[in-house]
């Protein structure tokens, strides 16, 4: 091939098309799109043909089994999931705030302590934390977490959540302009007073959207209290679904529980997005 085209093709509106194809970018995109649709349709057809729908419905969406889940699904399981996660969130927020303030403190040992805590507990699987709590009475004889299984579950979620919350809150505290602290101090407020009345309220507003997401993740982690050996009145959604599924040798309760999680997490996700948008406009 020579650089000079021997036979001049009619140039399209976008100029001469690349040698060989003779297609405009739009035409090529159309062909690619058509291939994608064909693959999608083929996959859907294959699913319809090869999946045993009757058996699937029998195992995952059996109405009689689903009915068995009520009303305990809401009165016990969802209620407990919310108790574990709201409790965990509350203490994780408090403890996280203390860690964030320590992390930003001019006192060096405070910074070291906070960094050590955050690095350790952010890097460990949540499940491992729950297993540690399980063995806590062996390690510390006579020690008992207050609040029974609720206390243990909330403790586990607090330990994990606080590490993440501390980093989020630190970012929030640092996002408050330096001039705010200077203005507060020049009005005669002490460092602590400036923090509590001027800096922290602004930082909390800044971190509301990421914090909402953190609550969602904590809500999902609350399923791990399963490993604390909860039973009876303490069961939360996952344990509840698992138990019911075993009893009936049917997976329907798992699906039901999944939908119940989504009933909480999806609206929360939307809430976080809306708060984020509102914050972008404000200030």
């Amino acid at each position: 091939m020579t650089d000079q085209p021997i036979k001049a093709e009619p140039a399209g509106p976008g100029g001469t098309p690349p040698a060989g194809t003779g297609l405009s970018p739009r035409q090529r995109q159309q062909i690619s799109r058509a291939v994608q649709y064909v693959v999608l349709v083929a996959a859907a057809v294959a699913a319809v043909l090869f999946v045993d729908w009757a058996s699937l419905a029998q195992n995952f969406a059996k109405a009689e089994v689903a009915e068995q889940a009520l009303p305990e699904l809401f009165t016990i399981a969802l209620k407990n999931t919310l108790i574990y996660s709201v409790g965990g969130f509350f203490f994780a927020f408090l403890f996280g705030l203390i860690l964030a303030l320590m992390r930003l403190s001019p006192v060096r040992p405070y910074r070291w302590l906070a960094i050590a805590y955050i690095e350790i507990f952010r890097g460990l699987p949540a499940l491992l934390i729950f297993l540690m709590i399980l063995f806590l009475p062996l390690a510390l004889p006579g020690f008992e977490v207050p609040g029974d299984l609720y206390g243990q579950g909330i403790l586990g979620l607090t330990i994990v959540g606080a590490a993440y919350m501390a980093e989020t809150l630190r970012a929030g505290l640092q996002a408050v302009p330096k001039g705010q602290m200077e203005a507060a101090r020049s009005l005669g407020m002490s460092y602590g007073r400036s923090m509590t009345t001027i800096i922290i309220p602004q930082a909390v507003r800044i971190v509301i959207p990421p914090t909402t997401n953190q609550f969602v993740s904590l809500l999902k982690d609350s399923s791990l209290v399963l490993f604390l050996g909860v039973s009876g009145e303490y069961v939360e959604l996952t344990k509840f679904g698992n138990d019911l599924a075993s009893t009936h040798a049917n997976a329907t309760p798992i699906l039901v529980v999944g939908v119940t999680y989504l009933l909480v997490t999806i609206p929360l996700g939307y809430l976080a997005t809306r708060l984020e948008k509102r914050q972008g406009k404000g200030r």
């Binding site: 200077e182 203005a183 101090r185 020049s186 009005l187 407020m189 009345t197 200030r283």
Partner: protein, 253 residues
């Protein structure tokens, strides 16, 4: 110590930022009731000097006295001392999560422990003073820059300071809003407030100041009445700075 204390007294003040020496030995005083304008090129140390007066910057060496109290003393109650010194910032620094009224009452209530009714009365008086009594319920974001800066002045005045520091109070404002803020400051000067003002507004310095201080390179180059420092400057550095400020289109590049 002298029996009659100066409003501000600074002795051999030095400030380093790392290796950068921003202030290299400043000595000066402000008498009660005086209005002193500090002028000078950017980087001359004038803002740092002002921020050293209420110790927002910790001086590297030297002493700062406000009404006879040494703020650089290691056992001083800084928070108590700062109550007597109002500060107005270039960027206003209003508290965005509070209404105008709350901005002006919060320190009165939390620091001076004034009751709610008293704090609000004083706040409204001071908002009235800066011509913004009708904005008490607004949030800072709803105000123009000039209005925000006047609220910041009211916030400082509500603490009944005996000295007001202004750090380039009109530099962040649109030109047509500068006048409102300067008018408020002039009124304040006429009422006898002691003021230390870092500014680029030469007309304000000339008309309102009792003294003008020209700084360059971390030292005070000239200090005297405005007619002298701005009208007939003695030093070449002052002359060249004023030429650049007063006639910017004919500056030698």
């Amino acid at each position: 110590m002298t029996p009659v204390s100066h409003a501000v007294e600074i002795r051999d003040l030095h400030k380093h930022f790392g290796k950068l020496e921003v202030l290299r030995g400043i000595d000066f005083t402000v008498e009660p009731g005086q209005v002193v304008c500090v002028i000078g090129p950017s980087g001359s140390g004038k803002s740092t000097l002002l921020r050293c007066v209420n110790l927002l910057e910790q001086p590297t060496a030297g002493k700062v006295f406000v009404e006879g109290v040494e703020l650089t003393h290691r056992d001083v109650d800084l928070d108590a001392a700062r109550r007597r010194v109002g500060m107005v910032f270039q960027q206003f620094n209003l508290f965005p999560h509070m209404t105008v009224l709350e901005n002006v009452t919060i320190a009165q209530r939390r620091v001076l422990k004034r009751g709610k009714a008293e704090a609000e009365r004083i706040a409204r008086d001071n908002l009235d003073r800066v011509g913004l009594s009708e904005k008490a319920a607004s949030y800072p974001a709803q105000l123009s820059g000039g209005q925000q800066q006047r609220v910041a002045i009211a916030r400082a005045l509500a603490m009944n300071p005996s000295l007001m520091l202004f750090d380039e109070p009109t530099s962040a404002l649109d030109p047509e809003l500068v006048g409102d803020v300067l008018t408020v400051m002039r009124k304040l000067a006429e009422e006898g407030m002691t003021m230390l003002v870092v500014t680029h507004e030469m007309a304000f310095a000339r008309e309102v100041a009792d003294r003008v201080v020209f700084m360059d390179g971390g030292v005070i180059v000239e200090d005297g009445p405005p007619a002298q420092v701005i009208g007939s400057p003695q030093h070449e550095r002052t002359k060249s700075f004023l030429r650049r400020v007063l006639d910017p289109t004919h500056t030698d590049v």
